[in-house]
């Protein structure tokens, strides 16, 4: 039975941050606080679904300067489930096209009385810039190739949910590590929580310097598959091929795609994640994506709980209704 009491009662440490900018900044305790809080927001069944009042009277704005479907809707729904007022901002309908700067746009929206800004931007550090210029809280919903903390958290949450722990697990991150904010957030969170992380892809997409973050580097998916408890298949962006980082999509799929033949070399209980949206037949063949190892849709469901936890911790009131 799920408790209706304030989630903070079970949180590991008191939460003090106004912003969530990245998992690199967080301590192990803070990561656990978010994960534990998210447990409280997992909806056990359709019938139990109801609104909580923790963010009643608060205004949460989605400031997405880059296209996004699932992250934006997930944050919007999470905020509404906590009774916040929500606002969606998209650049096409904004003054950005009239030459207004990113900071001015955010300041103008903040002046309407906003408590939290959820920002996605193609520039690394854009949320950090907002955190310096705004008085309200800032949540990073993906900045350039830097971090995507809530995606990292929901991946880690899903692993913990399925495996009961993080410590001691071996997690393979496969694909375009160099340009992936999801990879960085996963690495920071997983390494802090005691997992072994192997990053895997062609050298043009996996910088050697990434070893400094405490991970192993591999260029051979088949070699690492038997060692992995979890594989997280990152999406490949086709424009990388055009800029000469690998010769063709076909060759990429042949070397780093996950099909049933290759999957046979993995552990029987391998957990398969993908932050999506996936290119079916490139990173993962459809039978594998929809197969028994896959937790891809579970990730989306958990994303909602994780984002509710983050919103709650940053500006929610304890108590129910």
């Amino acid at each position: 039975m799920v408790s209706e009491a304030a989630p903070a009662a079970t949180a590991s440490v008191p939460w003090t941050r106004r912003h969530l900018l990245g998992l690199e900044d967080l301590s192990c305790d803070e990561l656990c606080t978010i994960l534990d809080t998210a447990e409280q927001f997992v909806v056990p069944s359709q019938s139990r679904r109801k609104k909580r009042g923790n963010l009643a009277g608060k205004v949460v704005v989605n400031l997405f300067f880059e296209p996004s479907t699932r992250t934006r809707t997930s944050f919007g729904l999470a905020a509404r489930r906590l009774s916040a007022d929500t606002l969606d901002f998209t650049p096409s309908s904004s003054s950005l096209s009239k030459g207004e700067t990113f900071i001015d746009t955010a300041k103008n929206i903040e002046a309407m009385g906003v408590d939290l800004v959820v920002v996605r931007h193609s520039s690394s550090g854009a949320p950090h810039l907002l955190a310096q210029h705004l008085r309200c809280g800032v949540i990073n919903a993906g900045d350039g190739a830097h971090e995507h903390p809530t995606q990292g958290l929901l991946d880690i949450f899903t692993i913990r949910q399925k495996r009961g722990r993080i410590e001691g697990l071996t997690v393979g991150l496969v694909g375009d590590i160099a340009h992936s904010r999801v990879a960085r957030s996963n690495i920071h969170g997983l390494v802090k929580l005691g997992a072994k992380v192997i990053v895997c892809g062609p050298p043009t997409l996996v910088p050697e310097t990434i070893r400094e973050l405490g991970v192993e580097v591999s260029h051979n998916l088949e070699a690492i598959l038997p060692r992995c408890d979890v594989i997280n298949m990152l999406r490949i962006q086709f424009e990388r091929q055009r800029s000469g980082l690998f010769p063709s999509i076909q060759e990429y799929a042949r070397l780093f795609g996950l099909d049933s033949t290759r999957l046979a070399k993995a552990r029987k209980d391998l957990l398969l994640l993908a932050p999506g949206p996936i290119n079916r037949g490139v990173e993962i063949t459809p039978d594998v994506a929809d197969g028994p190892h896959s937790a891809i849709l579970q990730q989306v469901t958990n994303g909602l709980a994780v984002r509710m936890a983050v919103l709650y911790l940053l500006c929610g009131q304890p108590g129910e209704e």
């Binding site: 520039s123 690394s124 190739a145 971090e147 910088p207």
Partner: protein
């Protein structure tokens, strides 16, 4: 005629191998000499406890006029120079339009004369419009007073053009200044390529992009016998290439900028665009190599690469912000903190890299206190502690990462042609 006595300062003039506490005398616009003089003083400046040296020469500044006066003008740049103890600057040709003809060079002199502050020498473009395609009228630019040639922040991509520029400039005994960057390797880059750029998810400018061009241009200097000056060297590998070239006897000189030997790429973790410049801040190993090269003379010159940028352009997303840092008003104290206080350079060694060495490279009669030369003098308080406040800059722009930093060492006065043009 006015006789000015600057009394009791530590007079340092590396050109004359001079370093002693004494008086410096100025008659009218010129240096009279040091030590006791049998003339009647009409004015005295007490320099007790201060350093008295030739006015500093910054051979790498961008003054933005004409075309980008919202960032800086020749007058505001010259005022900023004086506040930093710098009495002579060489301004890069990346104005709009480019400084690629005689009239453009003469305009720099005209504006500098109107401002009546520091000496400003124009550096001409190597190619017409700085487009890298055809040589500019280098002879006309020399006629107009250009002291050196470069396409500024646009690297000369064609090795053939660079070769011909080095050859052609030999006729006028002018140096070619090299901005060493392979633009294909740096395309889309924001910061040094390494652990930090990987961590922040930003595209890098690899050290190799600088080093391959330094290597190329050193070979071209060998081929042509031309005079080559490598600007803003920022990597350990670049330093080593220059060190070996000098051993081979090539006519090459090189400069370093204070930010490159004081800061590292770790600063970018703040995502503060004031730490973004080109070449970018490198690693601790590169900083150590630059300091070593300043000590052993591989790096002849310290220059600011003063690159003013209006706040509305500079304060924005890091990857979209333009490259550049102002430096005229912070060069001196940063060098005190980074080089002199830790004992890497003595005051005379430091002064040498900002006076006689750049004067020799540019072929200008300045940077010394020899009797008879124009009296360009800096009076420096080497000990005074102060806080850098960009809002107080005389420069039009504020793009400095040093705001709030406690430093030591500050210019107290600057004289140009015997006249006190700056004093605090």
């Amino acid at each position: 005629m006015n006789i000015l006595r600057i009394s009791n300062g530590r007079v340092i003039d590396p050109a004359q191998n001079l370093d002693q506490v004494t008086d410096l005398w100025i008659r009218g616009e010129h240096i009279l000499g040091v030590g006791p003089q049998s003339v009647q003083t009409t004015q005295t400046l007490d320099a007790s406890g201060k350093i008295v040296c030739p006015g500093l020469i910054d051979m790498h500044v961008h003054l933005r006029e004409p075309g980008r006066e919202e960032d800086e003008t020749i007058a505001t740049g010259a005022a900023a120079a004086l506040a930093g103890g710098i009495t002579t600057v060489a301004c890069m040709p990346d104005a709009e339009p480019a400084l690629d003809n005689q009239a453009a060079a003469e305009f720099v002199y005209l504006q500098a004369e109107r401002a009546g502050l520091a000496n400003v020498f124009p550096v001409g473009a190597i190619t017409k419009g700085r487009n890298g395609a055809e040589l500019a009228e280098i002879g006309g630019l020399v006629e107009g007073g250009a002291v050196a040639f470069t396409d500024a922040d646009r690297p000369v991509v064609s090795a053939e053009i660079m070769r011909r520029a080095l050859e052609y400039c030999r006729m006028f005994d002018k140096p070619v200044l090299c901005h060493a960057e392979d633009p294909e390797l740096t395309k889309g880059g924001t910061m040094h390529e390494g652990v930090e750029s990987m961590r922040l998810g930003l595209r890098g400018l690899p050290a190799a992009a600088e080093e391959v061009v330094i290597h190329r241009d050193l070979e071209l200097a060998q081929l042509t016998g031309g005079r080559l000056h490598i600007q803003h060297v920022s990597t350990a590998g670049g330093v080593e290439l220059i060190r070996r070239a000098k051993k081979r006897g090539l006519r090459v000189s090189a400069e370093a900028c204070p930010h490159h030997f004081f800061l590292t790429d770790k600063c970018l973790r703040s995502f503060d665009s004031n730490y973004k410049m080109n070449p970018p801040l490198r690693t601790e190993a590169d900083v150590a190599a630059l300091i070593e090269a300043l000590k052993d003379g591989t790096l002849d010159v310290i220059a600011s690469d003063h690159s003013p940028l209006a706040t509305e352009k500079k304060v924005r997303e890091l990857d979209l912000a333009p490259f550049g840092i102002v430096g005229l008003e912070t060069l001196l104290p940063i060098c005190v903190v980074a080089l002199i206080e830790p004992g890497h350079l003595t005051w005379p060694q430091f002064v040498q890299k900002l006076t006689v060495n750049p004067a020799r490279i540019l072929g200008i009669d300045a940077g010394t206190l020899r009797p008879g030369v124009e009296a360009d003098v800096a009076i420096i308080d080497p000990k005074v502690e102060w806080t850098i406040e960009p809002a107080q800059f005389r420069s039009k722009s504020r793009n400095s990462p040093f705001g709030g930093l406690r430093v030591r060492g500050r210019a107290r006065a600057a004289l140009v042609g015997g006249e006190v043009k700056f004093q605090v």
